[in-house]
């Protein structure tokens, strides 16, 4: 296999070329390094995201360069821009269509808190609609901040247990937590 050993810390390789590891580790390793983003870009943050994907900043170094415009093919939805109440059901629906495991990055002031659009039309933070894993502050955030968010998400995926059949899905856990809060 063309996997470098130093990338796979818990994985051991013996003389025969056979790799032994735990399933959880290899699944997490795969998930972590192939985050396919779905850019839900509605404003200037999406322009900033283009810069991050392109060669100057190049998020393919972190395995997250394969931008998909279909929720069925992506792992992480990157909400970049202002979300208004009219768009909220659309965002929720697209989030619902992403297969598990799915992650959410809220990029920029508008997605995180409504930003300076404190008015009748703008949702004051997308966490009111979908569970967010990483918030990126900024208006718009620097490309370094977006890369940092992807690294933070990777750290999180590294520690996350891989769900077994029958265990509650991630969004179910989040929704339950939220219900308890209310």
């Amino acid at each position: 296999m063309g996997i470098k050993q130093d990338l796979l810390n818990p994985i051991t390789k013996d003389e025969t070329g056979i790799i032994t590891t735990r399933l959880d580790e290899i699944v997490r390793w795969g998930r972590k390094n192939s985050l396919w983003p779905l850019p839900f870009g509605t404003a200037c943050c999406a322009i900033e995201f283009m810069g991050v994907v392109s060669s100057d900043y190049d998020i393919s170094r972190f395995g997250a360069e394969l931008v998909r415009f279909s929720p069925r093919q992506s792992d992480v939805i990157l909400v970049a821009g202002t979300i208004n109440y009219k768009l909220a059901p659309v965002l929720k629906r697209i989030y619902d269509q992403i297969a598990e495991p799915k992650y959410v990055i809220s990029m920029g002031a508008c997605a995180c808190s409504g930003g300076f659009y404190d008015n009748y039309a703008t949702v004051q933070g997308i966490e009111q609609i979908i569970p967010v894993d990483v918030f990126i502050p900024g208006c718009p955030p620097r490309p370094e901040a977006i890369m940092d968010a992807i690294l933070k998400l990777q750290e999180r995926i590294e520690k996350e247990p891989v769900p077994r059949r029958g265990t509650p899905r991630r969004h179910e856990v989040v929704e339950k937590l939220r219900d308890n809060q209310d």
């Binding site: 109440y85 009219k86 909220a88 059901p89 659309v90 629906r93 404190d118 008015n119 009748y120 039309a121 949702v123 004051q124």
Partner: protein
């Protein structure tokens, strides 16, 4: 060659005053602009006259104003038509005072196609009821939205959630 905008304004104002008399409530000339305040009862006639006889072939925009708590105003709301004449290169603003208790205004969609969405926006933001409009429903806010957000007594922080998406079949099927 067309005469200067000010001279054309003079001619238009004189003609309108002569034709519609007391229905022209006021004329405001400032900074080279000309605003004609028209009684609501005559607004459609005046607009039709401007379009058909004075070659105002373009309705650039419509704007509602909520005059609540302003020191001087005629009625609570006013509606502004921004007109432009391409052949004569002249702009004109037509203003209609609209009372809060009677928000009916005759539609201008039969004169300018661009009035369609402009009136829908004025309807959703202020609550003007455009009589005769082919499809008077909300344009920018969602279909479950209640109230008129640009009214000064609208609670601006009342976030109104939308639970479903809506198709645009009515808009798509509009005659072109």
């Amino acid at each position: 060659m067309a005469s200067s905008e000010t001279a054309q304004h003079d001619a238009i104002v004189a003609d309108l005053k002569n034709r519609f008399g007391a229905r022209i409530i006021d004329v405001d000339r400032s900074f080279g602009d000309c605003t004609i305040v028209v009684d609501k009862l005559a607004i459609h006639e005046v607009l039709a006259h401007l379009r058909n006889e004075k070659a105002f072939d373009l309705l650039m925009d419509m704007a509602g104003v909520d005059c609540m708590n302003l020191p001087s105003f005629r009625e609570r709301f006013e509606l502004n038509y921004m007109l432009y004449s391409v052949p004569n290169n002249v702009r004109l603003r037509v203003e209609v005072p609209v009372a809060e208790l009677d928000m009916d205004v005759p539609t201008a969609t039969d004169l300018w196609r661009s009035a369609n969405w402009a009136e829908r926006e004025a309807f959703e933001m202020f609550g003007f009821n455009f009589v005769g409009h082919p499809c008077l429903k909300r344009l920018l806010t969602h279909h479950e939205f209640k109230g008129h957000p640009l009214r000064k007594d609208y609670p601006i922080m009342a976030g109104q959630w939308c639970s479903s998406t809506s198709d645009m079949s009515e808009e798509l099927n509009e005659p072109r």
